[in-house]
């Protein structure tokens, strides 16, 4: 009897362990996936893909040498099968996959890799992506028009390419995952000329079919995709600028997945019909108020500290965006390198600091915001919070172009802006914020730690260095008051399976998505 019980428990355990495997549904091929975007895409040419929308779309048509992995958040092989790193992180030799074809049947070789990087640094191309690979030898000469080709990118044979860097760069592989590193073919670029940005031809999982600007972009599965074809036959992206129309299209069953507008989140998350089909992802973003020390009295660290105390990011987040996370430093949720520095939020302390700095009666401060609805709302709360400690805020609202022009030229005393990750590493945030020309912040200690971060490939060391920078910035009167980190809630139709969501916009190739056709038919009856 005892043995039978043991046996029964054993089988039960085995069943429980195997049940996820046994119960996993088998993915189906076929069908059209209907998705949407709130704006049209500026370009589909990787060399110009400076925005998220363009980058997110370019990765559907093109592949890079490496890519971000959904599960491990690590850089894994893509068009490169393997690589060796030698000479103190300065030489990267990539062994490429053979038998990979561009959508028109042209074979992918090392020459395409060389051409992609030469093109990126061709001054006539004027790519906005030249900031990504300045560490490759020969980029400066190429940009100056002294050379047509990068000396640091060498074709060894058809399936081997070598990159030589000026100095060690720990994040080189990570930088290769950016859309600017997506591989294009010279003949295809020449064939389409100036219209190449409208006719993407890459090695990616989807082939371009049609693009009606401001209306829809259609792609179909690349049957010969080297990593196996996508499950869906087609993807139709519709351009729907108005979030409420977009969500109405979803409710009518015309979209398979969409972003829930912020104002609607509460209702959807509490809706029993939909709550199981909602996924919320923490974005890699940081929203902040920047203080420009070229303007008095912001040059006084005590005044900057006082402003930090006066602004309670927790209060802002709770009152305006209950689904976001209040920021205590530059590093967003889900990214290593952040600290447990406390959110200050102490009006009395702020007043004390202002009095110590000689501004007991406060002062006037111009805060620049863009004319987006969120910016204006946040600006209003900042105005109220700073008003409590005697700082009279003049909100200067302008459209994005004027706003950014002013901020970029260092003419805004204070401004509300955000940083969104190009890749998931704290260096991307800290370097962008503490070495910008928008504010005159220049701390030698931070700069030298950033230099260290550039070189090291040790992720633990990078995390420690990141924390160190945040600590030093705190000590010297941080020019940034961090406000909040955003998140996005997606809702999908019940018939959509295999849907993966990733924090990095450039990682989503829709390879795992599939449509349960029977379930869809059942729902639509």
């Amino acid at each position: 009897m005892f043995k039978t019980k043991i046996l029964a428990i054993f089988f039960l355990l085995v069943f429980l362990l195997l049940s996820p495997v046994l119960m996993a549904e088998e993915a189906e091929y076929g069908g059209t996936l209907y998705l949407s975007n709130d704006t049209d895409w500026d370009t589909l040419d990787p060399a110009y893909a400076s925005g998220f929308d363009a980058g997110e779309m370019a990765v559907k048509f093109y592949d890079g040498l490496v890519r971000f992995d959904f599960y491990s958040n690590k850089v894994v092989p893509a068009l490169a099968e393997s690589w060796e790193v030698t000479d103190n992180n300065q030489v990267f030799t990539f062994h490429l996959k053979s038998g990979v074809e561009f959508h028109d049947g042209t074979e992918f070789t090392a020459q395409d890799v060389k051409y992609t990087f030469d093109r990126l640094y061709d001054p006539e191309v004027a790519s906005p992506g030249t900031w990504v690979f300045p560490m490759i030898k020969g980029t400066e000469a190429a940009l100056a028009g002294e050379s047509d080709s990068l000396s640091g990118v060498q074709v060894i044979d058809d399936y081997t390419v070598r990159f030589e860097l000026e100095k060690p760069f720990g994040l080189f592989l990570t930088h290769l995952t950016l859309p600017y590193g997506l591989i294009v073919n010279e003949d295809l670029v020449d064939e389409h000329g100036e219209d190449f940005s409208q006719n993407p031809v890459g090695t990616g999982p989807f082939k371009f079919v049609e693009w009606e600007h401001d209306d829809k972009l259609i792609m179909e599965a690349n049957e010969n995709y080297w990593a196996g074809r996508p499950y869906v036959d087609r993807v139709v992206y519709r351009v729907i600028p108005q979030p409420l129309t977009d969500i109405a299209e979803f409710e009518a069953g015309n979209l398979d997945r969409t972003v829930i507008p912020n104002e609607e989140r509460e209702r959807w998350l509490n809706d029993e019909e939909w709550s199981d089909y909602i996924t919320t992802i923490a974005d890699l973003s940081t929203y902040y108020l920047a203080l420009n020390s070229d303007f008095e009295p912001l040059d006084n660290p005590k005044v900057r500290d006082a402003i930090d105390y006066a602004i309670d990011s927790e209060a802002i987040t709770h009152s305006l965006f209950p689904h976001y996370v209040a920021a205590n430093d530059a590093i967003p949720e889900g990214m290593p390198g952040g600290t447990d520095v406390e959110i200050k939020g102490n009006t009395e302390k702020a007043k004390e600091l202002l009095a110590e700095a000689g501004y007991a009666d406060g002062f006037e401060l111009d805060i620049w915001v863009s004319d987006g609805r969120t910016s204006v709302r946040v600006g209003g709360v900042l105005q109220a919070l700073l008003g409590r400690v005697g700082i009279k805020v003049n909100l200067i609202k302008n459209d994005w172009s004027v706003f950014y022009n002013t901020v970029k030229n260092g003419n805004a005393p204070a401004y509300y802006l955000s940083w969104w990750a190009d890749y998931a590493d704290p260096y991307n945030f800290l370097n962008a914020l503490y070495t910008t020309d928008r504010i005159p912040f220049n701390n030698e200690e931070i700069n030298s730690i950033l230099e260290e971060m550039v070189v090291t490939t040790d992720s633990n060391q990078r995390i420690e260095l990141s924390k160190e920078i945040i600590r030093i910035a705190e000590e010297v009167g941080d020019p940034y008051i961090y406000l909040y980190h955003t998140s996005t809630s997606y809702v999908k139709q019940p018939w959509i399976k295999g849907d993966l969501y990733h924090q990095m916009y450039s990682a989503d190739k829709l390879l795992t998505w599939w449509i349960d056709q029977d379930l869809k038919a059942e729902y639509q009856e």
């Binding site: 049209d40 370009t43 006539e124 600007h213 004027v402």
Partner: protein, 310 residues
């Protein structure tokens, strides 16, 4: 008549040159920079300078103006700074979409507006008149955005009669046109109803209407043939002007219904300071406006034989 048309056509030239010049000056003076929009927050100064040179934005204003003028006069509207799509190609896509929407809206609003206006005038100060004018006031005061969303909620979401948004498959899809046309046309229909009513009230009190009635003509003949025809000249002017402005795009309606038209294209370009697109759109918009006006003037002759341009 032919001479009149030739004279009007010749007059279009200085008007369009003026439009070209004013557009250029405005774009030149307005703050903001397309290069910064293109490059995003990573923009480095040398890249900004290089791209400005590439786009000829660093040249002196007169040199930029003359190259813009000569290209435009040759019919080359250039390429968008941002998307690098030829503006002419983009307009070939957007204009037919806007034309469909504007035409549908003007048909709906003209029929509704004139009919309600005439009925109101005929039944002056009765409950029919009061009801019609209350509705007219309601539609004039209704924000387009709210009304469009309301129509989507009621007809698309609740009743499922019409699609939510977009243009649908194929070159013409009537079902997709209904809600945007009603949204776009409702305000003008209301305005036209009030306008037609007041014009008709004036006309009905004229002596020739009394004469027509005294001749024993049927009331509908008096109203439609003698009354409405004489009221048509100011009505046609208003309809024509409104049609021309609808052809220049209707940003709100196009945004609510994800309609890929001229208005959205222009407003997006303004936000991004995409000067080539702005210039191309304003130039084509002015051209449309001027030609529609000319056509309206020619219509007058057909409506009223007493008008002669010779």
């Amino acid at each position: 008549m032919t001479q009149y048309i030739i004279r009007r056509l010749l007059l279009i030239i200085p008007v369009l040159l003026g439009v070209l010049f004013l557009t250029f000056v405005l774009m030149y003076l307005v703050p903001g920079d397309p290069v910064l929009t293109m490059l995003g927050q990573h923009a480095e100064d040398d890249i900004i300078q290089r791209l400005r040179a590439e786009l000829n934005l660093d040249a002196p204003w007169y040199s930029q103006f003359f190259s813009y003028l000569t290209r435009t006069l040759k019919g080359d509207l250039g390429r968008s700074y941002i998307s690098r799509v030829e503006v002419t190609e983009a307009l070939k896509q957007k204009l037919p979409n806007t034309f469909k929407l504007a035409l549908a809206a003007i048909i709906v609003s003209t029929i509704m507006g004139i009919a309600i206006g005439v009925i109101s005038a005929v039944f002056k100060n009765t409950w029919i008149d009061h009801l019609a004018m209350t509705f007219a006031l309601f539609f004039i005061s209704t924000p387009v955005f709210w009304f469009g969303m309301l129509l989507i909620y009621f007809f698309s979401m609740t009743l499922g009669w019409t699609p939510v948004s977009g243009m649908g498959e194929g070159s013409f899809n009537l079902k997709h046109l209904i809600l945007p046309a009603i949204t776009l046309g409702s305000r003008f229909a209301a305005f036209l109803a009030r306008y037609t009513r007041s014009i008709m009230l004036e006309v009905i009190s004229e002596d020739y209407i009394r004469t027509a009635r005294s001749k024993g003509l049927k009331e509908n003949v008096v109203i439609l043939k003698h009354g409405l025809r004489n009221a048509m000249i100011p009505i046609v002017t208003v309809v024509g002007m409104n049609f021309a402005s609808l052809l220049n795009g209707s940003v709100l309606t196009e945004t609510i219904f994800a309609w890929p038209g001229f208005g959205r294209y222009l407003v997006t370009a303004i936000k991004k300071r995409d000067f080539q697109v702005i210039a191309g759109c304003v130039w084509v918009g002015a051209l449309i406006f001027v030609f529609v006006n000319l056509i309206v003037d020619i219509f007058y002759v057909m409506l009223d034989p007493r008008i002669s341009y010779d």
